[in-house]
Amino acid sequence: MEEIASLLGGFSVVLTPFNIGLMLVGILLGVIIGVLPGLGGANGVAILLPLTFTLAQQPGGTTSAIILLSCIYWGALFGGAITSILFNIPGEPWSVATTFDGHPMAKQGRADEALTAAFTSSFVGALVAVVVITFLAPVVARFALKFGPAELFAVQFLTFASFIGMGRGSPFKTLASMSLGFALAAVGLDSVTGQLRMTYGFTDLLKGFQFLVAVIGLFGIGEILLSMESGLAFSGAKAKLRLNAVLTTWAKLPRYWITSIRSCVIGCWMGITPGGATPASFMSYGLAKRMSKQGNTFGKGNIEGVVAPETAAHAAGTSALLPMITLGIPGSPTAAVLLGGLLIWGLKPGPLLFVEQKDFVWGLIASMYLGNVAGLVIVLTCVPLFAAILRIPFSIIAPTIMVICAIGAYTVNNAMFDVWLVVLFGVVGYVFNKLSYPLPPLVLALVLGDMAESSFRQAMLSSQGSLGIFWSNWLVGGIMGLGVILLFWPLIKRVLALVRRRAPAGAPS
C-alpha cells in the first residue's frame, strides 16, 4: 500500500503548528465567506489568493498556501448550509436543495437537528471523496503520465463538451459563454510566437484578462447587484445548538445509510466529471425523494432531504480536486481558482505533480482529511457566532463586500485597471445570471484557455497540421469520441425522444 505510506508522509508535512494554524484560519474565513451573500467558494478563494503570494515563495510555502486555500473552500462548503437552513437563503448555489427541507425543519424548531444532519453528512460526503482521491488519484496520475499533447487536448475537449452535454440550460448559451471565456483568455501576449493578440493598442491589455478578476466580478459584484435589486429581507430562525440534539441526531443518521451511499456515489461522479456540486445536490435530492419510503414528506422538514443534497454537494466539491491535481483540469469554478493559484505559485498542475512535488500533493490530500475533521468541529461549535454575522444588516454587508472585491482585484496584479474590470465583469455577471447564461463554463475556459490552446498547437505541430492526430490511437480517439457524443448530447436526446414518441404511434392500435 504505497498510497498509505505517502499519505502518512503527507500528514507529517501538514502537522506543524504553522500549517494547523493556517488550516483553522482558512476554515473560519471559509465559513464566513460561505455565510455572507455575494461571497462564495470561487470568488472568496480568488480574493484571498493574493494573500498567499509572499507565503508561497518560502520553502515549503506552496503546501502551506494550498492548505490555507483549500480549507477556505471546505469552510465555504460547510457555511452554505447555515444560511440555507436558518434563513432560507442559500449562501451557495449548491445549498439551494438544502433549503427545501432544512428551512422547514428550522421553522418547526428543529434547526439544531437540521444543522447537525447537514454538517455531519457534508463531512461524510467529503470524507468518502477524500478516500476516493487518496487511492484513485495516484492511479489516474500514473496513467496520465503517458499523455501527450493530443491526449491532453482531448481531455480538455471532453471537459468542455460535458458542460454542453450535461448542462441544464440552453446548449447554445453554454457554448456562447464558453467561447467568450476562450476569447478573453487569448487576449494579450501569445506565448508561442510572442505576438500581441486583440490588444488593439491598449497597454493595459498586454497581460490579458486575469481569471481571478473575472471570478471576483462575475460572482461577487454580480451577486450583490442581484441581491440589491430584489431587496434582501432576512427572516431568521433561532439557532441554538444543544449538545444532546447533536447526539440524538447522530443516533438517527445511520438509518439513512442507503441515501448516504447513493449521494456519495452521485457526488463523486459529478465532481470528477465536471458536473459540479450544484447539479449533484439536486440530483441526489430528487433521487432520495423518489426512492424514500416517506417521499411524500419531503419538502416539509424531512431530515433525509437534508442528508441527501449535503452529502452529494460535499462529495462533489471535494472530488472536483481529483482531476485538478492529476490532469490539471478543474471540476468546478473553485477548483479552477485553486488551479490558477498553483500556476501563479510556479507549479505545473498535472500528473508530474505526483512525481516532482510529492510533499505538495500528499500534504494537500492529508490536509483534506484534517481540514474536514477540523471543519466539522468548528461549525458544530460556532453556529451561533456565524448566525450572528447574518444578523448584520445588508446595508453594512454589501459595501464591505464591494470593498473586499476591490481589494481582491487590485492585489492580483497591483493594477487599478483590474479594479475597473471587476466592475465591468460584475455587470456581465448580473446580466448573464438573469438571462441564464451559465458562468462556470466561462470561468473554466478563461483558466484553461491558454493550456488547451498550447496542447492543441503542440499536437498539431507534431502531426504537421493534420487533425487526424486526435484519432490516431484508441486512447485519444476514445476520449475525443466521448467528447463528441457529449457535445451533441442535447441533439441526441431530442432525436431519441422523438423516436420514442413515434414508436407508440406507429404500433398497432
Binding site: 493574493p50 494573500l51 498567499t52 503570494f53 509572499t54 442559500p90 448555489p93 440552453s170 447554445f172 448559451k173 457554448l175 456562447a176 467561447s179 467568450l180 476562450f182 476569447a183 487569448a186 508561442v192 510566437t193 505576438q195 493578440r197 486583440m198 488593439y200 459584484i221 450583490i224 447587484l225 442581484l226 440589491m228 435589486e229 430584489s230 431587496g231 446595508s395 453594512i396 454589501a398 459595501p399 464591505t400 464591494m402 470593498v403 473586499i404 476591490a406 481589494i407 487590485y410 487599478m416 479594479v419 466592475v423 460584475g426 455587470v427 446580466v431 448573464f432 445570471n433 438573469k434 438571462l435 441564464s436 447564461y437 490552446e453 492543441f456 498547437r457 498539431m460 505541430l461 497540421g465
Partner: protein, 181 residues
C-alpha cells in the same frame, strides 16, 4: 435567485429584448476577435505550427455562430417578451449601487484605498440603511483597519495608498503595535 423578481412596477425591459441585445453584443465581440485573428494569420506556419490567430479565429467563429442561434431564438421567442428582465424601480436600485461603485473605484485611483473605502461605506450605509454618518464612518474605519492588518502587516501585500492615506498609515500601525497585533 436567478430570475429574482424586482420591486414592483411596470416592466421596463423584457427578457427577449435583453436576450437580443446580449446576442448582438456577443456577435460584435466575435467580430473583434475574428478581425484580429485574420491580422495575425490563422493559417499554418512552417516549423511553428498554427499561427497565433488560428485558435482565436475558430473560437470567434463558434462564438459568432452560437450567438447567432441565440439571436434567432430570442427573436422568435414569444414567451420571453412577456417575461420581465427589469422594472424601472429595480433598474434605479441597481444603478444606485453601480454608479457610486464606479465613483468609489475612481476615488481609489486618486486618493488611495483606505480613505475612499471609509467614505464609500459610510455613504452606502447612510443612503441604504439610514444610519447616521458617524456610525458609517466608524464601521468603515474598523473594516479598513482589519484589511490593513490582514494585508499589509500579516501577509505583506501592499494596497494602493494615496495622499490622504499616507499620514494615517504610521498612526494606525503604531496603534496596532501598541495593542499587540
Amino acid at each position: 435567485m436567478s430570475d429574482g423578481e424586482g420591486p414592483g412596477g411596470p416592466p421596463l425591459i423584457s427578457v427577449r429584448t435583453m436576450d437580443i441585445v446580449v446576442a448582438l453584443l456577443m456577435i460584435a465581440a466575435a467580430a473583434v476577435v475574428i478581425g484580429d485573428s485574420l491580422r495575425l494569420g490563422m493559417g499554418w506556419q512552417e516549423n511553428e505550427g498554427p499561427r497565433a490567430g488560428y485558435f482565436p479565429f475558430y473560437v470567434g467563429v463558434i462564438l459568432a455562430v452560437s450567438s447567432a442561434v441565440n439571436l434567432v431564438r430570442a427573436v422568435l421567442d414569444r414567451n420571453g417578451a412577456g417575461k420581465t428582465f427589469t422594472t424601472k424601480p429595480a433598474l434605479l436600485q441597481v444603478l444606485a449601487v453601480l454608479i457610486p461603485l464606479a465613483i468609489y473605484v475612481g476615488a481609489v485611483a486618486v486618493i488611495g484605498i483606505y480613505v475612499a473605502s471609509i467614505a464609500y461605506m459610510a455613504l452606502f450605509m447612510w443612503h441604504f440603511g439610514k444610519y447616521p454618518l458617524w456610525r458609517g464612518f466608524l464601521v468603515g474605519f474598523a473594516v479598513s483597519a482589519v484589511f490593513f492588518l490582514m494585508f499589509e502587516i500579516w501577509f505583506l501585500v501592499p494596497l494602493p495608498k494615496g495622499p490622504l492615506d499616507e499620514p494615517l498609515v504610521p498612526v494606525v500601525s503604531a496603534f496596532m503595535k501598541s495593542i499587540g497585533l
